[in-house]
C-alpha cells in the first residue's frame, strides 16, 4: 500500500488518500493521471491493469485501487 500511496502522492500531494473515496467523482484524478498510475503500477508491482478495469469504482480511492492490484496479482 505504501508503494501505491507514493505513486499517488507524486501526482497530487495535496490529497488525503486515506480518507478520499471520490478521486474520480470529484475529478481529482483525470484520464492523464489514470494512465500514469497504470504505467507506474506496472513498473512497481509488475501488474498490468487492462482497459476494462479503468472504471471509477476502481480508482475512486487508494483502497479500491489497491484491491484491484491484489485481485489482478491473484489472477
Amino acid at each position: 500500500m505504501e508503494d501505491l500511496l507514493e505513486i499517488l502522492e507524486e501526482l497530487h500531494d495535496d490529497v488525503d488518500y486515506d480518507t478520499c473515496t471520490t478521486l474520480i467523482d470529484d475529478k481529482i484524478l483525470d484520464s492523464f493521471d489514470i494512465v500514469t498510475i497504470v504505467a507506474e503500477v506496472n513498473n512497481v508491482f509488475d501488474v498490468q491493469i487492462p482497459a476494462e478495469e479503468l472504471v471509477p469504482e476502481n480508482f475512486n480511492s487508494a483502497k479500491a485501487l489497491y484491491a484491484l492490484i491484489e485481485r489482478l496479482e491473484d489472477e
Binding site: 489514470i34 494512465v35 497504470v38 506496472n42 498490468q48 482497459a51
Partner: protein
C-alpha cells in the same frame, strides 16, 4: 426528414399517439418501426448499411457470448483438475478467440465507415502527390454518406467492445439490438449511448406520464428556440464573414469566431435538447451530452463538458486501451529511463493523446482542416500539462485561485482559445485559417466595426436584439442550472406560469424563428459528421 421540418412534427405526433395507444409490450417494436421509417426518409438504400451493422454486431456478440459461456462451463467442470497456470493459459486462449471475433467486427464496420467517408479524401491526397509527378489523377468514388453513420457505428462498436470486455449484458433479440442502434432521436447527431445505460429505459413499458411528457416537450421547445431563433439567425452573418475572407479579415475574424461559437452552441445543444426531449416524451432516458461547456476554466475541462458522449467514447475505447497496452507500457518504461525528471513519464501519455485527437479530428470530417484542428487540441492539452508547475507557482504566489475575477479570466481565455481553434472548422482550409487567424494581429481595422459594418452582414438591428436576448436567456438558464433543474423549478410554479412558459416559447419560435425571415431552417451542423 430534418428535426426542423413539418414532416418530422407530423411523424412525431403519429408515433407518439400510437405509442401510448398500443399494448405496452409492443411499444419498443413501434419505436423500432418508427426509427426505420425515419431513417428511410433519408434514403431507403441507407437502410442496407444500418441492417448490415446491426446483423454483423449481433452475430459477433452471440459468438463472443458462446465463447464466454463455454469458458465458464469448462472451468466449472474442471475446477479441481486444473492447476492455476493451466486455468490462466485456458483463459488466455479463450480471450484470444473473443479478441479475433471482436477484431473482425471492428474491421468490418469501421471498414464500411472508412470506405464511404474517407475514400475520396484519400484519392484527393493521392492525386495531390501524383500531380507532383505529372501522373494521371484517379477518379473520385463519390460515395453517398449514410445519415449519422459516424454516430451509429460508434454506438454499435462501443456495444461490441463492452460485450467483449464483459461490462454489459448481451442482447439476444436482434430486433432489440436493432432499436438500440437505430433509435431515431439520437441517430443523426448523438448522444452516443452505451447499451447498459440506454437499455434501462429503451425496452421498458411506459405509462402515459404527463410530467415526463411535458418535461420532454419543454426541452424540445427549448431546443427549437435555440436552433431556429438563435443559431439559424446568426448563421447568416457567419456565412457572410466566412464567405468573403478578403473583405472580412482582421477584427472581423474575431467577430466571426464569437458568432460561430454562439451558432455552434445553439445549434448543437439545441439539437441535443430536441433529441433528449423527444426521447423523454417516449419515456426513454438519454445521457446528457453537455454540461455548460462555455463555463470551463481550461481546455481539458471544456472537453469533459462539450459533446461528453463522444469524448468518453474516445477515452474509454481508444485512449485507455492505447495507453495501457503492453507495447505502450514497454515504451513507457523505456521513455522514463531515457528521459528522466518526469517528462519521460508523460511522453507516452502525450503520444496516446495525439493519436486520439487525430482520430477525433478525422471523425469530424474527411479533410485536413479537421485533422489539424484535432492535433492542435492535442498540442494545447499537452502544453497545458507541461505548464502545470508554472500555474501552481503562479497560484501560490498571487493567491488568485478561486477569486471570481480570475475565474472569469480563465473562462474567457478558454472560450477564446476554443473559438480560435474552431477557425479551422469555419474556413475548412488550413492555410486560409492560419492566414485569417494571423490577420487579427496584423490588420488593425477595429474602427470599421463602428462604421455600420456589423449591419452589413445580413443581420438587421432587430436580428441583433433577438440574438442578444436569446444569448442572455441561454446564459440565464445555464446559471440557474447550476442550482438544479430549470424544468423542475417551472413545474413547481402555478399552472398559469407553466402555460405562460409554453406560450412564450412557442410564440418566440413561431415569430422569431429564422424561417420567418425568408429562408429554410438549415440542417444541424453535427448532422454532417
Amino acid at each position: 426528414m430534418y428535426f426542423t421540418s413539418y414532416q418530422f412534427a407530423l411523424f412525431l405526433l403519429i408515433l407518439f399517439i400510437a405509442y401510448y395507444l398500443v399494448k405496452k409490450k409492443y411499444q419498443w417494436i413501434l419505436l423500432l418501426a418508427g426509427s426505420y421509417i425515419f431513417y428511410a426518409f433519408a434514403g431507403i438504400e441507407y437502410l442496407f448499411y444500418f441492417a448490415t451493422t446491426t446483423i454483423s454486431t449481433y452475430l459477433i456478440s452471440q459468438k463472443i457470448k458462446k465463447v464466454k459461456a463455454k469458458q465458464k462451463e469448462y472451468l466449472k467442470a474442471n475446477k479441481a483438475e486444473l492447476s492455476r497456470a493451466e486455468k490462466k493459459e485456458y483463459k488466455k486462449v479463450m480471450k484470444s478467440k473473443q479478441w479475433h471475433y471482436l477484431l473482425a467486427c471492428l474491421l468490418f464496420n469501421f471498414g464500411i465507415l472508412g470506405i464511404v467517408k474517407y475514400t475520396d479524401f484519400m484519392i484527393g491526397n493521392i492525386n495531390g502527390i501524383l500531380s507532383l509527378f505529372n501522373g494521371e489523377p484517379l477518379s473520385f468514388m463519390n460515395f453517398a454518406l449514410p445519415m449519422g453513420i459516424s454516430f451509429y457505428t460508434f454506438q454499435s462498436m462501443g456495444y461490441i467492445i463492452d460485450v467483449y470486455r464483459g461490462t454489459c449484458e448481451v442482447e439476444d433479440n436482434i430486433l432489440k439490438l436493432g432499436l438500440f442502434i437505430s433509435f431515431f432521436p439520437q441517430v443523426i447527431q448523438g448522444p452516443i449511448s452505451r447499451f447498459k445505460d440506454l437499455s434501462q429505459t429503451l425496452y421498458q413499458e411506459h405509462d402515459f406520464d404527463l410530467k415526463n411528457i411535458s418535461f420532454g416537450l419543454q426541452r424540445v421547445l427549448w431546443g427549437f428556440f435555440k436552433k431556429l431563433v438563435i443559431a439559424d439567425r446568426i448563421l447568416v452573418a457567419v456565412n457572410t464573414l466566412i464567405g468573403d475572407p478578403a473583405t472580412y479579415d482582421g477584427i472581423f475574424v474575431l467577430v466571426g469566431m464569437i458568432y460561430y461559437a454562439i451558432e455552434l452552441y445553439a445549434d448543437f445543444t439545441g439539437g441535443i435538447d430536441i433529441t433528449i426531449g423527444v426521447a423523454q416524451m417516449f419515456g426513454v432516458h438519454l445521457t446528457e451530452n453537455f454540461d455548460r461547456p462555455y463555463f470551463s476554466k481550461d481546455i481539458a475541462e471544456y472537453w469533459r463538458r462539450w459533446h461528453i458522449t463522444m469524448g468518453t467514447w474516445f477515452k474509454d475505447y481508444i485512449f485507455y486501451p492505447l495507453s495501457v497496452n503492453p507495447r505502450m507500457l514497454k515504451f513507457s518504461n523505456w521513455s522514463r529511463k531515457t528521459f528522466p525528471n518526469g517528462i519521460g513519464k508523460r511522453i507516452p501519455v502525450y503520444v496516446s493523446s495525439f493519436i486520439v485527437w487525430f482520430a477525433t479530428g478525422i471523425w469530424h470530417g474527411a479533410s485536413w482542416n479537421f485533422i489539424v484542428w484535432g492535433l492542435l487540441n492535442a498540442v494545447v492539452i499537452c502544453l497545458s500539462e507541461e505548464f502545470k508547475p508554472f500555474y501552481t507557482w503562479f497560484h501560490s504566489h498571487f493567491h488568485v485561485e478561486g477569486k471570481t475575477y480570475y475565474k472569469i479570466f480563465q473562462i474567457g481565455r478558454t472560450f477564446l482559445l476554443m473559438s480560435s481553434l474552431r477557425i479551422l472548422d469555419c474556413y475548412r482550409n488550413v492555410p486560409l485559417s492560419f492566414a485569417m487567424f494571423g490577420s487579427m494581429f496584423t490588420k488593425w481595422n477595429l474602427p470599421e466595426l463602428w462604421n455600420g459594418a456589423l449591419l452589413n452582414l445580413g443581420l438587421s438591428m432587430l436580428d441583433y436584439i433577438i440574438i442578444i436576448v436569446g444569448v442572455l436567456l441561454m446564459l440565464t438558464v445555464s446559471l440557474i442550472q447550476r442550482k438544479g433543474s430549470v424544468r423542475e423549478k417551472i413545474y413547481q410554479k402555478p399552472v398559469a406560469v407553466k402555460f405562460l412558459v409554453y406560450y412564450v416559447l412557442i410564440f418566440a419560435i413561431v415569430l422569431f424563428g429564422a424561417y420567418s425571415i425568408g429562408y429554410d431552417a438549415s440542417q444541424f451542423i453535427y448532422n454532417q459528421f
